[in-house]
Amino acid sequence: MKIGFYPGCSLTGSSREYNESILAISKKAGIELVEINDWNCCGATAAHNLTKELSVSLPARNLALAEKDGMEELVVPCAACYNRLVMTQHELNENGGLKALIADKLQMPLKNNIKILNVLQFLEKYFVPRFEELIKYPLAYDVACYYGCLLVRPNKIMKDERWEDPMSMDSIMQKLGANALDWSFKTECCGAGFSVSKPEIVGELSGKIVRNAVDRGAKAIVVACPMCHSNLDMRRPAIESYLKRNVDVPVIYITEAIALAMGITSKEAGINRHFVPVNLTVNR
């Protein structure tokens, strides 16, 4: 089976492990993720603060390319990319004029009806139904599922009926054999916006997230967004200096969790790339 795939910049840079793990599990499940030919930036960076037009043209081009490649579904693991693409698709469908304008700029036809999946929707659709066969080793840990902001906001477009307390990732983890904890920071801001400019603010915001997870007894924080990951993982020193204590709770992508449960090695899944070592094991 072939499904469209939009990696975006993060998955080819700071979060290669995310890329590697999703490809690894798909491969093992016999799903071929086909990368969009000649894809470009999703515009999550500066674009949508600069001009409206640019902020939609960038994602729109990717959507048009995907259509050109005859894709009906598009998996977008990076939450930021996902957010931009979905927002764009929504805006263009709401605003016919804009759609025409953009299509004209792109010099490409744009039906704008491709189904965009974030990682959780992708897993729910193609993996969860096959867990019986796919999952070899249950991942029996207490985990805190951290969704961040981009997967659920703005709710009127993302349409999660529990947008303040989402459950989709939790239910997947439960099915993996883990115990998804009820905690309070599922959708709190990790400070991604300040990641570069004001790391100390990241320290505070991410710090509170990590603290609450640890206090609830989480043995791992599960994420589905490169920004969340880099802040909770890479910014650990800043976090620890804010919390004034050491915390060694690992931060893993849900795809990595699944990889482990499917019996894929840490190396294949890129789990060895983390700053905070992942000390999770499945008893083989």
């Binding site: 529990r162 947008w163 303040e164 307390d165 309070s184 920071f185 709190e188 609450n212 206090d215």
Partner: protein, 667 residues
């Protein structure tokens, strides 16, 4: 041959500024059948009306057209004037030169020409007007009051004291409504029940009031003066005559774990229950959903314990029909539940409660006997946070309106807390403090100054739990907008006042309109605040919009006054614009062929049948007949009738036809 007088009004400058009124008067004078025409600065003024009256007498006018403002404004005025001059008032029509012409067009010949066209049209109409007599409808001097809260209680007492019969219908087992749940009331902090219960008793004992509790409106037919209401008396499963209200049964009922509605879910009750000790009537009902016998088929412990054998398991709902002349809707309101606030935990935190629940905690008759203890573990909260505007003024929650009472009761709650929990700390997050009302602002001041309640101007984005504390994340917009976090033991949401569930259906049953939030709509936002757009149905209290007690009581008395005014007449005179089935000479008698399609089209079931018989009483013909009492004059039947056998006074086929002709033939 008609002699019509046309009177053109300048309305000061309002018409004459853009319409050449002299020209209009002149043109009108030339119209066939017009005896006299003139213009005047203010036709509605006394001198203006005098001109009309004089001319009617002098020229023996048979019809009058007043070309001035909208008939919706002054038609009654001028018809009255005509009547005083001895002309049938329905021979007077108004041409709308202000709202429909001078105000909406610039000064030009075209504007003046349009004015002339309008006048000509109405002149043609008047030529076909017939003298009519207002319809008299007898008034049933008995009122139906729906809802037994303070609004319904007040309205019932006032109407009853005016000497009229009242049927008070309450859906719950006892009257009292939300007010009976309140602890103290602002701005005086006097005990709510202490002032309410005497009124409840008065209702129960009043000779003019029939109290139907545990009952709901099933159907409402008819119109002002003569409604027919069908009431469903839900089965209480007890014989009220035998029951002495001793309450033994409630002590024996095995099913004790039902959340009590009266205690807003914070207390428990049994399946056979009296909602609260001061209930009126103070007799239990069996809640079938939770009764072991009704659910499992055995138990009947209450029956065994009842000393008077008053339990009736076989009792069934009863439908009663009553004739009433007026209806007062006083069905009250409700508040948003904590589960409706995702950002505050979807109701999963036991210690996040609504203001109404706090009332029960603070009430001496409440589950904690008036001690402020938090629901989760019964601890006394050392730090409590109040959220004013939880849902209200929040378009994102679909409630852009202000619930009006929250600022005041939140201040009250904070005060009560400070009075009851010494050394406790209370915080109030607010958008604005809206304390408009007699002694209201003084009251909130007192909370801030004397009781040292910490008021923080800002909203709360999130509430979450961290090691046993509720962390309230908000912002203080006055302290250069710093985020604030408060570790609270308990949080009270002043959640938005909302329409009662089912109010939409009820409004439709009563044929009254309701707003976007399902609150009942008043007939005019300013000048008819207690009327609805259905004559004879009035509004009292929070079913129209959230209100505090004094406002509710005054509106209730207002509604009662309206009812009393209506009942001060023996019969009602209604506009005679109603449908009639024609009559003609034998052998036809009427051109109606009795297909009765008009009857199916009539929104008021006003069309019945009439048998035309010869002297021997043999039926010659079966034709439609309009009941003038029920017909409201929409004329839908008229447009339906293929043989043009049914027509409507005031808007007859001839009138409408000639208007069209006249309007278009201006050359």
């Amino acid at each position: 041959m008609s002699k019509i007088g046309v009177f053109i009004c300048h309305c000061g400058e309002n018409i004459s500024a853009t319409v050449d009124v002299e020209k209009v008067a002149e043109a009108a004078g030339k119209l066939e059948g017009v005896e006299f025409s003139t213009d005047y600065k203010y036709m509605c003024s006394d001198p203006g009306q005098t001109i009309i009256k004089q001319m009617i007498k002098e020229k023996g006018l048979t019809g009058v057209v007043v070309a001035a403002c909208s008939p919706r404004m002054h038609e009654p005025t001028f018809r009255k004037a005509c009547a005083e001059a001895g002309m049938n008032q329905y021979m007077c029509e108004m041409a709308n030169l202000r709202e429909h012409c001078s105000w909406v067009h610039d000064k030009s010949d075209a504007t003046t020409q349009k004015a002339i066209d309008i006048v000509r049209t109405l002149v043609e109409k008047v030529k076909h007007n017939k003298p009519l007599q207002p319809i008299k409808v007898p008034i049933t001097k008995k009122a139906l009051v729906i809802g037994g809260g303070i609004a319904g209680i007040q309205a019932s007492l006032d109407i009853a004291n005016a000497g009229h019969q009242v049927i008070l219908v309450e859906k719950d087992p006892s009257i009292g409504g939300h007010m009976s749940q309140l602890s103290e009331t602002f701005p005086t902090l006097d005990c709510s029940q202490c002032i309410l219960t005497p009124r409840m008793v008065e209702v129960a004992q009043h000779p003019n009031i029939t109290l139907l509790t545990y009952a709901e409106l099933e159907k409402l037919e008819g119109s002002i003066g003569s409604f027919k209401a069908t009431i469903r008396k839900k089965a209480k499963s007890i014989d009220e005559k035998l029951c002495t209200g001793c309450g033994l049964c409630t002590t024996k009922c095995p099913n004790k774990k039902i959340p009590s509605e009266f205690n807003a879910g914070l207390g428990l009750r049994t399946a056979i229950y009296v909602p609260f000790p001061q209930a009126v009537p103070n007799k239990p009902v069996i809640d079938k959903e939770n009764c072991t016998y009704y659910q499992k088929g055995k138990c009947k412990l209450c029956e065994k314990t009842c000393p008077t054998g008053a339990i009736r398991f076989d009792q069934e709902d009863e439908l009663v029909e009553i004739q009433v002349g007026a209806v007062v809707a006083a069905t009250g309101f409700n508040v948003m539940k904590t589960s409706e606030f995702p950002e505050y935990g979807y109701g999963k935190y036991k210690d996040v409660i609504t203001g109404l629940q706090f009332e029960r905690l603070a009430s001496a008759s409440g589950p904690t006997l008036g001690e402020i203890r938090r629901p989760s573990d019964g601890k006394i909260p050392e730090k409590i946070v109040f959220l004013a505007c939880a849902g209200s003024r929040d378009p994102a929650k679909g409630k852009p309106y202000c619930s009006k009472i929250c600022c005041m009761y939140t201040a009250k709650h904070a005060m009560l807390y400070q009075h009851k929990v010494h050394g406790g700390q209370s915080y109030v997050f607010y958008m604005d403090i809206r304390a408009a009302g007699k002694n209201y602002d003084e009251f909130t001041r007192r909370a801030i100054v004397e009781d040292e309640v910490n008021y923080i101007r800002g909203r709360v984005s999130k509430i979450y739990e961290e090691n046993g504390k509720l962390i309230v994340k908000g912002v203080d917009t006055l302290l250069n907008a710093k985020p604030v976090e408060i570790e609270a033991d308990m949080v009270v949401l002043a959640s938005a006042g909302v329409a009662n569930p089912g109010s939409e259906e009820l409004a439709q049953k009563m044929h009254i309109s309701y707003d976007a939030y399902n609150f009942f709509a008043e007939a005019h936002p300013k000048l008819k605040p207690v009327e609805t757009n259905t004559a004879g149905i009035f509004l009292a209290g929070a079913c129209q919009a959230p209100k505090d007690i004094p406002e509710t009581v005054s509106q209730a008395s207002g509604a009662a006054a309206k009812v009393a005014i209506l009942f001060s007449q023996d019969e009602l005179s209604r506009d005679p614009a109603i449908a009639v089935v024609n009559r003609c000479a034998p052998p036809l008698f009427s051109t109606c062929v009795g297909c009765f399609m008009c009857a199916t089209a009539c929104p008021y079931q006003a069309i019945g049948e009439e048998l035309i018989t010869d002297r021997q009483g043999n039926v010659i013909k079966r034709v439609a007949k309009v009941n003038p009492g029920l017909c409201q004059g929409c004329g839908t039947c008229v447009a339906f009738c293929r043989s043009k056998s049914i027509d409507i006074d005031g808007y007859t086929n001839e009138q409408m036809y000639s208007e069209v002709m006249a309007l278009l033939n201006n050359d």
